[in-house]
């Protein structure tokens, strides 16, 4: 599993620079965590490009997929949506407003709880998210082309371990 001695990347250079400047510190954690951050930043850009073809912003996609995953009738409360997308309530209100204005979701009062609201995917929203999602998967598949399946599984397992404390702890 430990080949990959190939070319040094940006993070290798960054770590080397730190070793020169602060030889007193153990900068090994950066080898993992800097790469996670940088990769996420690049992924955001790739996603943005993928969605542009379907006239969707990443934030729109995030909300619509949460609804899509919920299954029929594609309906969730704002609270459930913000927990699914890791944003604050103010942000979610704003997102729902704009999605509703774009005709991709609809708001209706929750019949069971008069404080509550339910957000539903419209037909247009459903179509848009479905086509954007297959486009995204195609691109993401390509991004992972450098790793064969066992390596992908190993990577996923390692990431799951790192993620575990967060998923367990916070709940936002």
């Amino acid at each position: 599993m430990t080949d990959a001695h190939e070319s040094l990347d940006e993070v290798d250079r960054l770590v080397a620079a730190w070793r020169t400047e602060r030889p007193d510190l153990d900068v090994e954690p950066l080898q993992v965590l800097s790469r996670v951050s940088r990769l996420a930043k690049h992924l955001d850009r790739a996603r943005r490009a993928a969605f542009a073809e379907h006239d969707l912003e990443p934030w729109e996609f995030d909300v619509l997929t949460a609804l899509r995953r919920a299954g029929k009738p594609y309906e969730l409360s704002p609270g459930a949506l913000l927990r699914a997308t890791l944003v604050t309530s103010g942000t979610m209100t704003n997102r729902i407003d704009r999605l509703a204005q774009a005709g991709l979701v609809r708001r209706r009062p929750d019949p069971e709880d008069r404080r509550g609201v339910l957000v539903t995917l419209t037909d247009t929203g459903l179509q848009r998210v479905d086509s954007a999602f297959s486009g995204l998967l195609r691109r993401e598949h390509d991004l992972l082309a450098g790793l064969d399946e066992p390596h992908q599984r190993a990577l996923a397992a390692l990431l799951r371990t790192l993620l575990a404390p967060f998923d367990a702890g916070s709940s936002n």
Copy 2:
């Protein structure tokens, strides 16, 4: 240590939901890439908390560390800084303005190129970034506690492979 086969995490649930809703699609890429995105989001929050102790915002830290890594005299051009931090030029101008106002960096004209500017770390800036950095490393070390060293190295190698096409290609 506990092998990671046990508890399902949020991404496992997400993947399972997609399998139910879209059994026609291969959603395996999400096992890796969703975890990268989610982990990055959690890391951002952890970093924010770590820096708050030193009165620094993450974006301030990003710029200051780039200068710190450059070594004496801790000086880089705005262009070099924006390439190091993956932000746009407008953002970098704004960041430098505010860092200069906070007394953490200084701007001076580049004597070799009259279009250019050089940004230098002040003594205050140097101290702040050094203490914030050791604080960060301590926390990041803890975040990685779930993986022993060989696993960490394996994870870093796998991430390097994914990152390679980006580091090579864009250069921003």
